[in-house]
């Protein structure tokens, strides 16, 4: 126990020397982690920093999805920083989302596993560039209700995305941000399954879903308020809204809000 505490304290002390301050890190969509021994309860993500390099978490909005629809989406994510120097972070993140789309005797499910490589570079102490490349590995099994495979007009298809955040830290707790995201590759999602409709009837369905918008994008200017125990980011931009976490873009293009509020302790 004492050894664990000592390691944790050492980790926190080391991390505290790194800009940005470990308690004021912009950790969502960047290579930065939430910090060692830190619990973050946010509207978009619950995270726990096991050590400074490693955090695990889940996205509560997907759990809450169950309250509004019959689709149940358990999910989890893990982020590990391979490099966490003072001006350069390089991290990998993997997430897991599972959606059961069974309906009326036809059973099916979708599994999405986004793999992200993230890099954060402190060009100056007050100006950071964060970038990521994400490959969304999506598989489907069975058929189910194909309508439920849709989220705002986009199927959870295989995709490659790239994103960037420019962060100007004007004050220790205040930053101006510019977020951008582009889906450079959009794949198709194939379903195949058999169902026994009744004693006399069986059915086979082979289906393919194609997203209507092949290269969705978004640009969002915003702000970040990063107090010690409360992190707030907000912005409004234009483009396709990317569902936070799983990063599935909605088909509709228009004003795109960005909001996140989290409590850290």
């Amino acid at each position: 126990m004492a050894v664990t505490l000592a390691l944790a304290c050492a980790s926190r002390t080391a991390a505290a020397r790194l800009p940005p301050d470990d308690e004021r890190r912009l950790d969502e969509g960047t290579a930065l982690t939430v910090g060692a021994q830190t619990v973050k309860l946010g509207v978009l993500s619950f995270d726990y920093g096991i050590i400074d390099r490693l955090s695990v978490g889940t996205d509560p909005p997907f759990w809450a999805f169950r309250a509004a629809t019959s689709v149940f989406i358990p999910n989890a994510h893990l982020k590990f920083a391979f490099i966490n120097s003072s001006r350069f972070w390089l991290s990998g993140q993997v997430a897991f989302y599972y959606a059961d789309i069974s309906h009326n005797g036809s059973s099916g499910s979708i599994t999405a596993i986004p793999f992200s490589g993230l890099a954060s570079v402190g060009v100056t102490p007050g100006f950071w560039i964060h970038g990521d490349v994400t490959y969304d590995l999506v598989t489907a099994s069975g058929t189910g209700d194909l309508d439920r495979a849709d989220i705002g007009g986009s199927a959870g298809t295989r995709a490659i995305q790239t994103g960037a955040i420019l962060e100007w830290r004007l004050a220790p707790v205040f930053a101006i941000t510019l977020r951008g995201r582009l889906q450079v590759y959009t794949g198709r999602l194939a379903f195949s399954g058999d169902a026994q409709v009744d004693d006399h009837t069986s059915a086979t369905v082979d289906a393919r879903l194609t997203a209507r918008r092949q290269h969705p994008w978004v640009v969002i200017p915003g702000i970040a308020l990063l107090w010690r125990h409360v992190h707030l980011t907000a912005g409004v931009g234009y483009g396709n809204v990317f569902v936070p976490g799983v990063d599935i873009p909605l088909t509709r293009q228009g004003w795109a809000p960005d909001f996140s509020l989290a409590v850290l302790f």
Binding site: N104, G108, S141, T143, A155, R188, F191, G193, V197
Partner: protein, 256 residues
């Protein structure tokens, strides 16, 4: 209840089969092309009755409609659009091949699972192309034995079950949505193969339209075809020049 097969292996090279082309037949049922010679109604009545014997309209439409309702149920289960229903533009584009296998009920219906080998089966293949179900689907009846309780207008109130038999290809054109109940059926059917009842089957081609409970079929006449409608009110003979209203048993006919 369910057997899963893994899908989602990337691009999903789904090949959509071409399906039947029923354009010419649909056109033929839009309007009669042959005139009716009112002076020759007796001959026409004989032709219509002969055609009725071939078409087996007292039970065959019920068999087809029953199979189509299973397809409708499967479309609902998979959230797929009906023909004529515009697919929502804010949804992904769906291409799909839906195959429904219906083991026929047989001429006797012993307890337990149906015997596909003995009873035969009907296989329906529907194609969803760019989010919309194609209006024409094809089916294959393989030695289908089915005891049918007639329910349409052609049954003329008879409650006697019929032991029907079909072996051949069926093409179906949907005028509206795929029926969820037999009473919703509005389709044009073309059958090539063997059709009949216990002990009496014939080979050939037949076509008819089911507008449940009414039925339409065509009869060749000099100069084209007339359209015959069987409804609960009787039989209507529609020519390009005149419409003739007949009694249900065709014993009396008078120009309308």
């Amino acid at each position: 209840m369910l057997v899963l097969a893994l899908g989602g292996c990337g691009a999903g090279e789904l090949q959509l089969p071409p399906g039947p082309d029923m354009t010419a037949l649909v056109t033929a049922y839009q309007a009669p092309t042959a005139p009716i010679d009112v002076a020759m109604l007796d001959t026409l009545r004989t032709n219509v009755q002969a055609r009725l014997l071939v078409l087996h309209l007292d039970w065959l439409p019920d068999l087809v409609a029953d199979a189509l309702t299973r397809l409708g149920a499967q479309l609902d289960a998979n959230g797929l659009s009906d023909p004529n229903a515009s697919p929502p533009t804010n949804r992904p584009i769906i291409d799909a091949v839906v195959s429904v296998d219906r083991v026929c009920v047989g001429w006797d219906d012993p307890p337990g699972p149906p015997d596909a080998t003995k009873n035969g089966a009907i296989n329906l293949t529907a194609v969803v192309d760019d989010g919309r179900l194609r209006q024409d689907v094809e089916a294959l009846a393989t030695m289908c034995h089915a005891r049918i309780q007639p329910s349409g207008a052609a049954a003329r109130g008879s409650s006697l079950a019929v032991d029907g038999f079909v072996d051949g290809t069926l093409d179906v054109h949907f005028y509206g949505r795929v029926p969820r109940t037999v009473a919703e059926t509005d389709v044009l059917v073309r059958i090539q193969g063997q059709i009949g009842v216990s002990g009496a089957t014939t080979s050939g081609e037949a076509d008819f339209r089911v507008r449940y409970p009414d039925l339409d079929f065509t009869v060749e006449q000099p100069g084209g075809e007339i359209i015959v409608t069987i409804s609960t009110d009787g039989v209507t003979l529609q020519g390009s020049n005149v419409t003739v209203q007949c009694s249900a048993d065709l014993s009396t006919c008078n120009p309308a």
